[in-house]
Amino acid sequence: MILASHGIIASSISGVDADWLAYYNRVIAAGGSLTTTEQNATKQLVADLKANSLWTPMKAIYPMVGASAAACAQNLKSSSFTGSFSSGWTYASTGVFTSSGFMNTNIRPSEMSQNSIHFGFYNRNSATGTYKMGVYVTTPIFKGCYLRGTNATNDNLVNGSDDSGLFQRSNGMVVANRTDSLDKMVFNNGIKSSRASLSLSPVDNFTFYLNGINAAGSSSNTGTAEYCFSTIGDGLTDTEASNYYTAVQAFQTTLSRQV
């Protein structure tokens, strides 16, 4: 065990979840830090996800804690898919804020399967009118995954190609989801809406952007928002989605940044 001046770097500490410890060590190694409250909140989040069988479906979880790019870029789930931020972000205990930037999650929809995928975020800002998260391509056909919400229009694709959107909140936790080839769904704070939507093969050459959209390799439609969580992974059952919201809302409440 190595005791560093800015924290504890260790391969194992009795009683501490190994996955959380690996995440914490990644934050420290990247030059970030976490307050005691943030450490405890992320530990509890890992415990809650594991207790509800939600750890395994996750590919990327960005808790957005640590008030720095180094810390907020880290994936809680694994050392893969560390994010990167464009210029123009402000990092605070309440999350990450921008009016012009985007975050590249470095994860492609094809990391999940055509009929089992979810992606989403927790947004504290009620600004509307922009793509919040996603990726699309236009060749050989138009398809993709994204969440776009305005007061008048909601567009969302989940490995699909139709633009008949499901309502999505302007703040809070919004998760797009698919668990079969016939329907897409959106969970707003854990509450499901769904509609028929045939699935297409996932985009395999471009990655998810948070805030705005990855339009076949170019950032587009960035807007004003403050994110304090983002998630990408396999499709979730209704119960899993509800439990996920409960765990994330408790996490945000511990950090005094819930909406």
Binding site: A30, G31, A69, A70, C72, A73, T82, G83, S84, F85, S86, S87, G88, W89, T90, Y91, T98, S99, S100, G101, F102, G129, T130, Y136, T138, F142, D155, S161, D163, A215, S219, S220, N221, T222
Partner: protein, 72 residues
Amino acid sequence: MIGYILSIEQKEAIQGVFFATDIFFNCIQDINDVWFLFLSEQDKEILPQEYLYLLDLPQGEYIPKPSPPFPR
């Protein structure tokens, strides 16, 4: 929204370049196709010496392009 105004050459020199481990420059075109760069106060604090010239660039009001039509 106020941003730094860049020439095409200045934009080409920095677009996508990482100036910190987890942060890269991203320039955006306004409604008149002028290139803009936005830096948060935190970005400015960690900007490497070689990019400090960016803080001396002229600034102007950024007006975004209208959202493109739905891409189908």
